[in-house]
Symmetry: C2
Subunit: 131 residues, 2 copies
Amino acid sequence: MERIPILKIGAALVVTIQVDMHDRVAMTLQEDLSTSIVASGAKGVLIDISALEIVDSFIGRTLANIASISRVLDAETVVVGMRPAVAITLVELGLALPGVRTALNAERGMALIRQRLAALGLTDGDGPAEA
Amino acid sequence: MERIPILKIGAALVVTIQVDMHDRVAMTLQEDLSTSIVASGAKGVLIDISALEIVDSFIGRTLANIASISRVLDAETVVVGMRPAVAITLVELGLALPGVRTALNAERGMALIRQRLAALGLTDGDGPAEA
């Protein structure tokens, strides 16, 4: 698996990270996500890391990069499903994921994205991307 | 990765298969999905297989089983993102995925699930599971 699938659901792009994020996988994900945001006009990116037992500085940096890239492309990134142990380790490592919004689970993460859509005066995005 | 994450989005459970579906992974996914459907009251299950380059008879059977289990639990399963080569191989193998609905991508798959919700007189499921 060199490529992490990106699902367009509503106005958001949904990604679940299940594989070890080696440099190449991370780079590919960044590129694919940027391309998808532009192509789909998605306003939000939901990244589920519930499968990750370890989030090292590289993954942390990758998530922060994705969040920054998305922001530039007018999409908000929400990281969901972080395990308690991962949160503890991140803070102990001094990786507070700056600029990355988090939510307990996918449902709440999507709610955050919908809130932003509402604030922008857009619909939930159940329809076409530009809805 | 022994466990495939299940995301609750709207009234659907979303799963992206990125790892090789060995017996144990497949069994765990079946159990986790059944549990999640009951716990969340989800009316649909969206399974993305765009990452799979090969769908053998075991995976085909697993998908069919998941669809049957979900149906018994009053949730519809939609398999999305199948690669053209995979579709060809499946048919050549005589595996037509009986009882499994398919859609081109996640967006259309979610549309199918929303149609069913509407037919059931339920909302899109953006709110709580029982919405």
